[in-house]
């Protein structure tokens, strides 16, 4: 293992964002090594070019130039030197890469499901959330899959990225020693709302993490069923396609939808009652509302009955 970052991490620089994972120090070191060596060679090359441009500018037409065809020593030097430097870049990049692909044995395992256009994180106790909450100072392993098209899980502050591919698992691990909240971005183009497929990773204390985990399964004491459904609505990423204020996103807005008649593609209109809402969540392809794409993934097997009931109650409550 490499020396971990200082516990308080490091701030953003001109070129790179805030660094908050144990990989970041190695990554940033190599980035800046390449940066300064490249800058050095660029200045030397452009300096030589600028010098020649001034010194050998044409003074009179037809002036003799020079009959030079090459210089073996110079050419060997400028072939060998870059080869050696590039060899160093390769080795350092290779070592850092292998570290990012080799999780330690004692990881906390969290499953990630990507879909157009939301992230869903499933914790060891079966709870689901649309944001990633992890304990500080613990290695975390994400086992990721996609229900539709390619996505890519990217946390700039962690210098970590891995494609999420339908039909197979991909794995990404990291350890953050720095409390805070960091952006999660999708970096593989996935259609209409690709640029809105964002989430957060919150690095919290072990106690906060444990408390968060408890709160994920089922409704809380003192919470109304509709409030509980509202939380489930966000955690399952429903809000990335369905507004609750009447504005049109990818899917229909759910404002005041309960009890109204909905036009259906290739079939008679239906009343949006409890049964229809349940079917639209569990098996959305059964009835597509006219004017909207058939884009929603099925949630059958991904949410339990308690959550389903809470969701129905929440949708009833949006007036």
């Amino acid at each position: 293992m490499k020396t971990p970052l200082l516990a308080d991490g490091s701030a953003a620089t001109f070129w790179l964002p805030e660094a908050a994972s144990t990989f970041a120090a190695d990554h940033d070191y190599l980035y800046y090594l390449i940066f300064w060596i490249s800058t050095f060679f660029f200045v030397v090359m452009m300096g030589a070019m600028a010098y020649f441009m001034v010194k050998y500018r044409r003074r009179k037409q037809g002036e003799a130039t020079s009959d030079i065809h090459g210089n073996t020593k110079l050419e060997i030097a400028w072939s060998v030197l870059p080869t050696l430097i590039l060899g160093v870049f390769f080795v350092l990049g290779f070592r850092g890469f292998i570290d990012t692909l080799t999780p330690p044995a004692n990881t906390l395992n969290i499953n990630v499901t990507a879909q157009q256009w939301a992230w869903s994180f499933t914790y060891p106790n079966g709870g689901n959330d649309s944001i990633l909450v992890v304990p500080v100072g613990k290695p975390v392993k994400l086992t990721m899959s996609s229900v539709d098209v390619l996505h890519s899980f990217f946390v700039p502050a962690f210098r970590a990225k891995r494609d999420v591919v339908p039909g197979r698992y991909t794995v990404l691990w990291f350890q953050s020693d720095k409390l805070g909240e960091y952006d999660v971005l999708c970096t593989e183009y996935c259609g209409t709302s690709h640029s809105l497929m964002m989430s957060k990773v919150k690095v919290v204390s072990q106690e906060e993490y444990d408390a968060h985990l408890k709160g994920l399964t089922g409704c809380q004491d003192g919470q109304s069923l509709a409030e509980c459904g509202g939380v489930a609505f966000k955690r399952n990423g429903c809000n990335s396609c369905h507004s609750v204020d009447g504005s049109k996103l990818v899917g229909p807005s759910l404002k005041g939808v309960y009890g109204t008649e909905q036009p259906i593609v290739g079939g008679p209109a239906v009343i949006a009652d409890e049964q229809y809402i349940r079917e639209s969540v569990m098996n959305p392809m059964a009835k597509i509302v006219a004017g909207y794409p058939a884009a929603m993934p099925a949630y059958a097997g991904r949410i339990n009955e308690e959550q389903m009931g809470a969701l129905v109650e929440y949708i009833r409550s949006i007036k």
């Binding site: 990554h27 660029f42 130039t65 020079s66 890469f97 539709d148 183009y189 690709h194």
Partner: protein, 551 residues
């Protein structure tokens, strides 16, 4: 003294006496252009088409940049934006950059440089042009059938699921591939079989070497693209289950197939630019090239190694660590010959007689921009650094520095270099240089900023973005407007010269064979077969230095 001697012996000149009209007026009427087998006319037709599509792709780029001025919606919604960046990418790659230097400039100049009457298969050349037009028509058709929103890379399974006109665009790219293969075969045979007496391989202009390496790649790589796109069309229409995981296919297999073509295609796009720069720097600094053989051989070496690096597009795609490491290693291997070329071009300036003509300003601009494009490739070739940078604006900036700062700048420089040969007219030098400088400044403002906010984590293909990337995007958008002003100024300057009367005097005094023929060239290029007795860069100024009577 000239580097070549024209053989005026009666046996060669039999039946060739008398005045010959130049290729522009030798035959008249629209159909004499539509059915022409004259490589020069086809080169001009390609040039016109490439410039037209460059304007289409460029306007799409301006629309994309304008939308990105602010973090949320500016002028179009997300679906329109996705179609716009796809249009920009697909048009620029398939309709502009790939045919730009080889099919337009190369078509016109290659037979002249070889001392040949035409390419080896003139009718195949004509077919290549019209196949290109047909492929382009498919692309344009998608504009009226609702557009394509897959990105120019057509990654599966999104490209299978999307309801946009992807099938039409795929067929268009499939057809365009054949145009590319036809031109490649034609150039290979022409270079092998139609060189003038005395024009040995080590006397070929480096532009010819570059076209040769390019043609090799076009012939070997393009069929793979055709097969890949064909499979994708079948996947979309009859679900054969090769790329779609729903039917047991593998979406990552598509990426391997796609980049197996498209990485060599990167070299199909840049290697002709290398050749162009070798011509510009030598002619406009009156110097022989520094290291002729390393430059010539490295084009072929790059073409070869270029086939073995496709996996560097897939470092985070779930490709195995072993494969990723091998591809990273080979990527660094291809960087070495590229670096040698740039060093050699700079060394060529040493003890030259540098004239700040419009083509030379583009050549110097190329050296600056391409060096940045090449050096930033080192970040992306390094495995651990690439993990952070891939699919961000760093990659966008990198390939624009190579593709536009490299190939397109070399192309524009080449058009200015040979404009007089094409048309017999001289454009305004002052405006030409000013336009080149505006393009240089606008380009850097547009794309250098993208390295910064790309490194900060801004992903590509985003219609909206987080507030922290706002300033960078704004600067980049203003830069793109400046860039557009420079490009239009350059175009108007060239077109304005067409209104001049008569044939203007030639200014560059090149010594390779294309300068030996009349301007504009006669229909069959040379009155008699030229015989070559010296190298392509044996300028009077160099000979003066050799014999020591320069002053």
């Amino acid at each position: 003294m000239s580097a070549t001697t024209i053989d005026h012996s009666p046996s060669h000149a039999a039946g060739e006496h008398g005045h010959h009209d130049n290729y522009l007026v030798a035959k008249k009427g629209i159909s004499s252009w539509i059915w022409t087998v004259d490589h020069k006319r086809l080169g001009i037709m390609y040039l016109a088409a490439v410039i037209l599509f460059f304007i289409v792709g460029g306007l799409a780029a301006i629309a994309v940049r304008t939308e990105l001025m602010n973090p949320t919606k500016d002028i179009m919604d997300a679906d329109a934006y996705n179609r716009m960046f796809t249009l920009h990418g697909a048009v620029m790659v398939f309709l502009v950059i790939i045919p730009s230097i080889p099919a337009s400039l190369g078509n016109f100049v290659l037979p002249l440089m070889l001392g040949a009457k035409d390419v080896a298969f003139p009718k195949l050349n004509l077919a290549s042009f019209w196949v290109y037009v047909l492929g382009a028509a498919f692309f344009i058709a998608t504009l009226v059938t609702g557009g394509v929103d897959t990105g120019w890379t057509f990654y599966t399974p999104y490209s299978i699921k999307t309801s946009s006109s992807a099938t039409i665009a795929l067929l268009g790219a499939f057809i365009l591939g054949f145009s590319s293969i036809f031109t490649g075969i034609n150039f290979l045979v022409t270079i092998h079989k139609m060189r003038a007496p005395g024009l040995t391989w080590d006397r070929l202009p480096l532009f010819v070497w570059a076209l040769y390496a390019t043609a090799l790649m076009q012939v070997l790589a393009t069929p793979v693209l055709a097969i890949t796109l064909g499979l994708l069309v079948l996947e979309r229409t009859i679900h054969i289950g090769i790329f779609d995981p729903v039917y047991g296919g593998d979406p990552v297999l598509f990426q391997h197939f796609f980049w197996f073509y498209s990485h060599p295609a990167v070299y199909i796009m840049i290697v002709p630019g290398f050749g162009m720069i070798s011509e510009l720097i030598t002619v406009h600094s009156r110097k022989g090239i520094f290291g002729y053989k390393p430059i010539a051989i490295s084009s072929v070496a790059i073409a070869f190694i270029g086939f073995l690096v496709w996996g560097h597009h897939l470092f985070v795609s779930s490709q195995s660590a072993l494969a990723g490491s091998i591809f990273s290693f080979l990527t660094f291997a291809v960087a070495v010959p590229t670096a040698i070329k740039v060093f050699s071009w700079i060394a060529t300036l040493y003890k030259g007689s540098i004239q700040y003509t419009t083509p030379m300003v583009y050549a110097l601009s190329f050296l600056f921009l391409f060096s940045i494009g090449g050096l930033t490739g080192l970040f992306l070739g390094s495995l651990s650094v690439d993990v952070h940078l891939t699919d961000t604006y760093f990659v966008i900036a990198h390939f624009h520095y190579v593709m536009m700062g490299g190939t397109i700048i070399a192309f524009i420089g080449g058009v200015h270099h040979w404009w007089h040969k094409f048309t017999g007219k001289n454009y305004n030098e002052k405006i030409g240089v000013i336009a080149a400088i505006i393009i240089f400044v606008g380009f850097n403002v547009t794309f250098f900023t993208q390295f910064i906010f790309g490194s900060q984590g801004m992903p590509r293909r985003y219609w909206s973005y987080l507030e922290q990337y706002h300033t960078g995007h704004m600067i980049s958008t203003y830069g793109s407007y400046l860039l557009a002003v420079g490009l239009f100024l350059a175009l108007f300057n060239l077109l304005a010269s067409l209104r001049n009367k008569g044939v203007a005097p030639e200014r560059w005094r090149g010594v390779s064979l294309e300068w030996e023929t009349a301007t504009p060239p006669i229909e069959h290029n040379f009155e008699s077969i030229p015989v070559v007795t010296a190298g392509p860069y044996d300028f009077p100024e160099v000979r003066a230095a050799r014999t020591g009577n320069g002053h």
